[in-house]
Symmetry: C2
Subunit: 183 residues, 2 copies
């Protein structure tokens, strides 16, 4: 029905060779496929605990404010604190903790909630790198680290709403970064 | 392998009902499918002619400068004239005329060439509406109007690089607008 090939082989982008230029058809196609998102098991909450998960989100946002994508976040301290709290509520709940987020904010609908912010592939990579540092900074328990990472790595791809390349978003698999966490 | 359902039914966006919140998997999915793009046949060039096609593109850009998306275009008159010329070269060639565009600029790669400009669904609709008016203003030959329209309508979807909604881009089929052209 449609193909997952990228625009590379599409006349909209290439291959308008003189003998095919007119009267030809670019097949339907998709930009890229959002990969599977595997949400953490309750074990992440049980092992890491609420306090550490909140500290993690706090550190993540401190890193974001020092990153190249600082401008995507509120400059107002109070607004930023609210955002960190909401974000921590979400992370705690998705890891198996109390329903802090959905009981106050409703359905997550995270892609929708982020439409007002321009998130391109590079911004997503920076966001993810800030998590990598935060995970190390809080000494996140190694036994649930992979599970947490595979969630946010794939989940973050769903937030991308600005494309700047024909390439699909870069995967950052745990295997690629795990040495960063081992002493 | 993956589904064309939208994020509506995805835990990233909704349905994080308490019994499914943890340990569940959001299946891979696509944002939307770029529809088929059927390039014009040589008949469009033969019937409309180069002069009218160039006038059409000129009018289109005049309309764009008066539209809500004026800010996407150069304010410098000379830069704008260059852009109109390049654009007309492209349209003339894609409709079956001489290879003005590819002989000077190379492969069209139109999605890639537009990445530097933020094009959301609304901008694309405005761009298309400006063409609708331009087609009427130049009295585009009705016998090749549908063929031209089905090309630009579907082609314009491929230029969208900023998503602001879960909905797929709105189709504007010829049947919906043809009354605009009949006296």
């Amino acid at each position: 029905m449609f193909t997952q090939e990228f625009h590379r082989s599409c006349c909209c982008s290439k291959n308008a060779s003189s003998n095919r230029r007119n009267d030809h058809v670019c097949e339907p196609r998709v930009d890229f496929v959002f990969p599977e998102v595997r949400f953490p098991s309750r074990r992440v909450f049980e092992v890491a605990g609420e306090k550490l998960l909140r500290e993690l989100v706090h550190r993540h946002h401190e890193n974001l404010l020092k990153s190249q994508i600082f401008y995507l976040f509120p400059t107002d301290k109070e607004a930023m604190e609210k955002l960190v709290k909401r974000s921590a509520d979400f992370v705690v709940e998705m890891c198996g903790g109390p329903d802090y987020y959905t009981s106050t904010r409703g359905e997550p609908r995270m892609r929708s909630r982020h439409f007002s912010v321009t998130i391109d592939e590079k911004a997503r990579e920076i966001w993810l790198a800030c998590y990598k540092y935060a995970l190390k900074e809080v000494a996140f328990p190694f036994s649930v680290l992979e599970e947490f990472w595979q969630w946010i790595e794939s989940f973050s791809i769903r937030m991308i709403n600005r494309r700047t390349t024909l390439e699909p978003p870069r995967r950052v698999y745990f295997d690629e970064i795990k040495n960063f966490f081992t002493p």
